[in-house]
Amino acid sequence: MTVEHADRGPLTMDELARVIARDIPAGSYVNLGIGQPTRIADHLTADQEVVLHTENGMLGMGPAAHGDDVDPDLTNAGKAPVTELPGASYFHHADSFAMMRGGHLDVCVLGAYQVAGNGDLANWHTGREEDIPAVGGAMDLAIGAKDVFVMMTLFGKDGSPKLVPSCTYPLTGVGCVSRVYTDHGVFEVGPGREAATVLATYGLTLADLAARLSLPLSAADR
């Protein structure tokens, strides 16, 4: 059963972060991509005992650093100052990306320009000639966790859906996304599916979503 929350508006990014935080299994090792996914950290509870990885070389990353706690040698992947939790460890870049590429992280949450029903992800390049390409760790992250979640608005500023039958932007990874969290609904996607499964809707009904998205949707089984 898809849970339809049609009696309210879409989720704010903060509410969405809380929804994702709740879905992260206790004890997970998690990488939160730069931008919106960073907010999820604020909603993880202590008894979830989630350990955060930052790909510039750390496990056990703590909250953002402020004031005197700012240490120029301690930043996250977005280059913002952060803190260290008990049980943290540091390692170099090759070890850090081996950790991701080797499939040791449980969950990675990324932003996206587009996600396709087959799990294809586009989040690194607009494809516009005039933009300087810059990929960072996006492609490594995309293939580097047991579950790759996307956190994004469901529609772009021009109203066009970002969950699509097939990505038109340059790909970051093929068939790598398992779940898409958006302000208007939560979807399961991935290779070999005939339809994206809608787990929940916000501010719209399942029927509304089916009308506005051009990829096949199905209701959740349970």
Binding site: A26, E49, V51, S89, M100, R101, H104, L105, D106
Partner: protein
């Protein structure tokens, strides 16, 4: 990986190891050999195992005892033949055990590749030798290489010095040897340590195996053994 379990006994630590598993066993000779976990594995009873380890057992303890108990189908190692490897020698000569000899650095790098998600790599070791026979080769930038594939483990049994309750691990001196590589190359990594300390006690700059690679930790009494030969 989910939370590391800190267990009370080595028997709990090796619970569930299935017949037919590939088990990576740490240690270089006796240094870093997880004696207590191996003894528990013998009691546990799993058979038809493939063992990946640098050696094939010394005297009649540790790996040698596991072999003697008839639980091992195949050994991948770099150096089976030692002055006191009589258990392995006997099984090998009577055809009761399979052997794949892998150069020591390839053994390490192939497990490193498994842990790091590398599909295969071109390696200069063993080019032109019997250990490269039948393997794909390629000349890159004027040098010849052999294509080598990852060695993954279902389980790793490792001996280390200290773990914190989160599962971060540090080793002592050359007993570190294969531990960190095997921890990353196995689906389930089981570590015996001399001490379990509170999380936050280990220096984050000096953690060698981060907790993400460690599934089960168990403290054992430090074992005194002489360096060469049996304990």
């Amino acid at each position: 990986m989910a939370r590391t379990a800190v267990l009370d006994t080595v028997d709990e630590a090796v619970a569930g190891i299935e017949d037919g598993s590939t088990v990576l066993v740490g240690g270089f000779g006796l240094a870093g050999m997880p004696f207590d976990l191996i003894d528990a594995l013998i009691r546990q009873g799993a058979r038809d195992l493939t063992i990946v380890s640098n050696n094939a057992g010394n005297g009649d303890v540790g790996l040698a005892a596991l072999l003697q108990a008839g639980r091992v189908r195949k050994v991948l190692c770099s150096f089976p033949r030692q002055s006191d490897s009589y258990v392995f020698d006997g099984l090998y000569r009577s055809g009761e055990i399979e052997l794949e000899v892998v150069p020591q650095g390839n053994l390490a790098e192939r497990m490193r590749a498994a842990g790091a998600g590398i599909g295969a790599f071109f390696c200069p070791t063993a080019v032109g030798t019997p250990l490269a026979e039948g393997k794909e080769t390629r000349v890159i930038d004027g040098r010849e290489y052999v294509l080598e594939y990852p060695i993954k483990g279902d389980y790793a049994l490792i001996s280390a010095h200290t773990a914190d309750r989160l599962g971060n691990v540090v080793y002592r001196k050359t007993a570190r040897n294969f531990g960190p590589v095997m921890a990353a190359a196995a689906t389930t990594t089981i570590v015996q340590v001399s001490n379990v300390v509170e999380t936050g006690t280990l220096d984050p700059e000096a953690v060698v195996t981060p907790s993400i690679y460690v599934d089960r930790v168990v403290a054992v009494e430090q074992r005194h053994y002489t360096v060469q030969g049996a304990r």
